[in-house]
């Protein structure tokens, strides 16, 4: 009996998740509501079945997520009885930080990176799972499965611990922490295939539907609520669109698509000519931007 690549990826991810639960004192799973989080959560449930998840879920809410994401999150938590912690940077809210007047870089730093650090400090977590994959972006290719962070949450690419076999060093001193990436070896195609194969529920925004959008700098932005300031002469148009990644709606580009089923989405993805992160506006800000963000504590 030879295992398929998805069976092997599944087994290795489950092993990583169990290792953290067994060795870390106070782990937490970052749940971003997207497809990768959906797979990670699904694997975590399998890792501890028939028992419950031995750690809480944490969602860093920038207050600018798509409404459908929040509804999906709350439904899921209710249905499974998850211990879900939602954290928002209240100082940022008080200062009125938003992607329109402050730009994507400032918004992401304050409402995402700083908010994440606040939440991790508050919970005193010594390990946080994230759904990042190495194939997403070049600087991620060198990321460890167990990524060591200083007490200031900084990532030093030169001081990462060597990882041999699947024998992971989970030890930290007080204040230091680990970011753990159980999906490191999965690709975008693996994720979709697995979701398809296992029937894992995902936010409907991944499927095409008529949605109100405006076009800005060649990117289709969905007008998800009335906080979005329209420029003079700009009116939302209804277009059949879907999203390849999900985040803050003003920073997430839609793609025009007719793919209303999962298989159609996979087909489109396989035949497409642009990479997944292209829809993420935060990556456009500077070359090697992801690497900088990671050093500062971004996931």
């Amino acid at each position: 009996m030879s295992l398929t690549h998805l069976e092997r990826l599944e087994a290795e991810s489950i092993r990583i998740i169990r290792e953290v639960a067994a060795e870390c004192e106070n782990p937490v799973m970052l749940y971003s509501i997207g497809k990768d989080s959906a797979v990670m959560l699904h694997l975590a449930l399998k890792a501890f079945a028939p028992g419950k998840l031995p750690f809480p879920l944490l969602h860093v809410d920038t207050t600018w997520k798509f409404r459908e994401m929040i509804a999906f999150r709350d439904n899921l938590a209710k249905e499974h009885g998850f211990d879900l912690i939602v954290h928002t940077n209240q100082e940022g809210v008080a200062q009125g930080v938003n992607p329109f007047s402050h730009g994507s870089a400032v918004h992401t730093d304050i409402m995402k990176t700083q908010a994440l650090k606040q939440a991790l400090n508050k919970g005193q977590y010594d390990a946080a799972f994230g759904g990042a994959r190495r194939d997403e972006e070049k600087s991620r290719a060198k990321e460890r499965v167990f990524s060591f962070r200083s007490a200031q949450h900084r990532w030093d690419p030169k001081r990462q611990r060597p990882e041999l076999w699947s024998t992971f060093n989970t030890r930290t001193n007080k204040g230091e922490s680990l970011r753990v990436f159980p999906l490191s070896d999965w690709t975008e195609l693996d994720i979709w295939q697995y979701i398809h194969l296992k029937g894992i529920p995902v936010v409907p925004l991944y499927l095409a539907k008529e949605r109100p959008v405006v076009e800005r700098d060649g990117v289709l932005i969905m007008v998800d609520d009335d906080r979005m300031p329209l420029e003079p002469g700009e009116t939302p148009m209804m277009k059949s669109v879907r999203f390849r990644t999900l985040g803050c709606y003003p920073l997430t580009g839609a793609v025009e698509s007719e793919a209303t089923t999962l298989t159609q989405v996979i087909e489109e993805m396989l035949l497409t000519v642009n990479s997944e992160r292209e829809g993420r506006i935060i990556d456009f800000d500077s070359a090697a931007s992801m690497e900088k963000k990671k050093q500062e504590g971004y996931f």
């Binding site: 998805l6 890792a47 041999l164 087909e267 396989l270 292209e278």
Partner: protein, 637 residues
Amino acid sequence: MDHFEQIKAEGIEAYLKAHEHKELLRFITCGSVDDGKSTLIGRLLYESKLIYEDQLAALEADSARMGTQGGRLDLALLVDGLAAEREQGITIDVAYRYFSTKARKFIVADTPGHEQYTRNMVTGASTADAAIILLDARKGILTQTRRHTYICSLLGIQHLVLAVNKMDLVDYSEEVFLKAQADYRELAASLGNSQVTCIPVSALEGDNVTKPSDKLSWYQGRTLLGELETLKIGELDSKRTFRMPVQWVNRPSSDFRGFSGYISRGSVGIGDKLAVLPAGTTSSVKSILGPDGDLKTAVAGQSVTICLNDEVDASRGDILADAADEPKVADQFRATIVWMHEEPMLPGREYVLKIGAKSTAVSIAEPRHKVNVNTFEELPARTLELNDIGVCNINLDQPIAFDAYKENRQTGGFIIIDRLTNDTVGAGMLDFALWRSENVQWQSLDVNKPARARAKGQKPCVVWFTGLSGSGKSTIANVLETKLHAAGRHTYLLDGDNVRHGLNKDLGFTDADRVENIRRVSEVAKLMTDAGLIVLVSFISPFRSEREMAREALDTQEFIEVYVDTPIAETERRDVKGLYAKARAGEIKNFTGIDSPYEAPLSPDVHVKTMECTVEDAADQIMAELKSRGRLDARGS
């Protein structure tokens, strides 16, 4: 290979079905920047159509800006990730790349070929099923080729593929290729590798990487990708006997108790008889819970939860194994160690060793030798420095179940962690056990401590006298021993001065020597209690931590600390041996109470204040303590 065509021809459903049955192959690429390694990986990604148009646009811009390939696409830039390295034009760490064909999904570990980064290559090789070793056709076998081949062999990689690259620069000469092939086969054979495949390629021109090339018409074998798609993945051989380290004990309720783990070898089925190691208890498999529910059987490479038919005790770090072929249990090993940290290995220091799901304390002896990875010569060494590979004996603080690394990577490979910084400082592979602790445990069952104590008709213990020089320890101990002897007890008095004439005559009076002095005496005292004796120890023993160590080596009721409390003014006034005078005159250094500290016990079991009682009183006081603890009852404990 081209998924655009596949989907068009077969439709998406058929495509997905086909891709569900792909296998997974992990391989490592070894070679230096100059060998065109990044170009080769870039080519594999590029030709498997996994580069999107926006990435291609970025690549074109980068290629033009860097100017490395004179206007052509520089495929190596697809691979070189971090900003700092892109500026230097080299890769500095282990990077993982992904691509897939219809047959397989590939995970590529890309590691640099620089000597100072042996660490990275060992890391990449540890999970690889196969290795591509790159050779520049113009240069033939180089020192680094030997090094890469050695490390791949050491880490147990099954398949070595030699890619003779830059064939375009030697006019696609068959002669050059055959020479390289013959030389390499010889090298690999000298390291015990027989499974070697040699393939001529040009990564830059794309010859024979994913497609056969007209320019290499004399070559009849597979393309490089063809080889990667077909070579047998042997590591997950399910025919070998079952092993699963217990990672997590799953007990959600009183009616479910399962042992979760990743099967590292073999297969398991319901009803199979398993042993729990190191304890050695056995039971049979009641049920196996896999990711999608109950399974009848499970194989290596799956994460499962196993329930047993009996209530056997197993915890994280134990190993579930085929009861008919249990792994051995030991605590001392010969191991090959790769040092991975700037701080050199310190022989004798205590590190943490993590093997499978088990962590234990380890001390590493001075290396027997280290290996020159270029010449394979064995060199003498006192320590191991960054990137050194050496053979050492290691000593764990508890026995573990293990298989030699060559039998099982998962239960034979370990990492070494620094206790203070928590850095991973080294990694190693168990070669064999030096000593099997299970044999000794088995022998000790026949005649053990209670049995010997019974034969003596007494309860062994240690009466530990501590106090300043001249406080009266030996005098009181003498009287106590006389009383015990008169009562028919078998005793032995270990006296500081006497022991320093023999067992400890190599030790002086520095703090380090005092620690060793007491360590040895407590070991002797422990052996004597094991033999059934009542042991009186009369040593200054100035440090609390060493007296605690002696106490911890014994059962609580067996250790009686007697503080012979005489003020220093009085001991100096008595000065029976004239030592205080000499110390004051500076003739003796490190004298306790004068220029070396004495740490008085905080709560001694017996506190003898010699200024307030006679020697007889003191001995009776101790006898009373022995009685109250039942140590003088005329039967074994």
